[in-house]
Symmetry: C2
Subunit: 197 residues, 2 copies
């Protein structure tokens, strides 16, 4: 949601909320007070706090009692973060390799966000890691692995068959002509696949 | 300390520590884990945690139990931050006007950092706010006002007579040929003035 006007973000987040488990509040280039204001705005429009994952800022997650905090590369160590968080705030870690994923699990992460699996405009020129590597990580970890990066609805069957517990989508929703229709399509496909697994 | 190599920062901070009340750990362009690593490094070299003020990141202040957290413009609201902090971690707010200073005091700030008072390379082209405005704020606030911006040792008498409770120095120490000699000179002048007030 980095490039999307903030006034619009809360409105879209509210509309797509019924179709996703978490809205990831991520404003890397903005101040903490802007991030806090965005979350308060989403809350005011009816997005339940437990469905918001706060990027990087553990302090903002603590203040808002959001559902999760998502630690990026360069974020605080997960073990330290877990010592600050109450049980009900989950802690996810963004990882890019099996080593990082295992390390996050051992340090107490509740889940990992792994990517990028497919080619994506968000990572131009960076080779995607592919479905085989995802499967390897999913099979070797005991915590949920959420797949990220260039995911289109038609990818969902192979992602779930590879062992992903969920998917995370940025441009597929935020850059879609209709973010709501896109979120519904991802949801529909995920439900279909999960029910057949 | 933004432009100073990190390996050097902890070493200098340790050396100047006897002459200052707080070392302000401020790495605006860096990740939270880098900031945490810097503080751990200072601690390992003997800088007492209660003499470290953490910029912006309340989560890092909580983790390290540092002496203070310094909220910049765009930082989290001070009232919210105070609700997260234990009593022993002070909360300072960076302000640039009487209105901001009063607002910070009313919201529970333990002190304000006000500037910039004099011309400084850190704020090229921005008119300094001057000593008269500092005095006005010092007289109207009940919490300590720490002056910032372009301060040289010879400014200290007029700053304290204007009502400042302390001074904060960046380039005057970090860009000095000998940061330790510079810190000692600031300390000597401040002690001299305080004893004559």
């Amino acid at each position: 949601m980095e490039g999307v006007p903030h006034a619009h973000v809360a409105q879209v987040a509210t509309a797509i909320c019924p179709y996703v488990h978490y809205v990831h509040a991520r404003l890397k280039q903005q101040t903490a007070s802007t991030l806090l204001a965005l979350i308060r705005s989403m809350e005011a429009r009816g997005v339940p706090l437990q469905h918001i994952a706060v990027n990087d800022r553990v302090d903002v997650a603590l203040l808002t009692q959001a559902g999760a905090v998502q630690l990026p590369a360069g974020g605080l160590p997960v073990r330290d973060v877990k010592s600050l968080l109450p049980e009900k705030i989950r802690c996810g870690v963004s990882v890019h390799s099996l080593e990082e994923a295992r390390s996050a699990e051992q340090a107490g992460a509740d889940y990992v966000l792994y990517g990028h699996v497919y080619e994506t405009d968000c990572k131009p020129g960076v080779t995607p890691r592919g479905i085989a590597q995802l499967e390897c990580i999913c099979r070797l970890l005991n915590i949920p692995v959420v797949a990220l990066g260039g995911i289109q609805p038609h990818h969902i069957p192979e992602l779930y068959h590879a062992g992903a517990s969920g998917i995370a989508v940025m441009s597929g929703i935020w850059k879609a002509e209709s973010p709501i229709a896109a979120a519904m399509e991802y949801r529909r496909m995920a439900d279909y696949v999960v029910h057949r697994l």
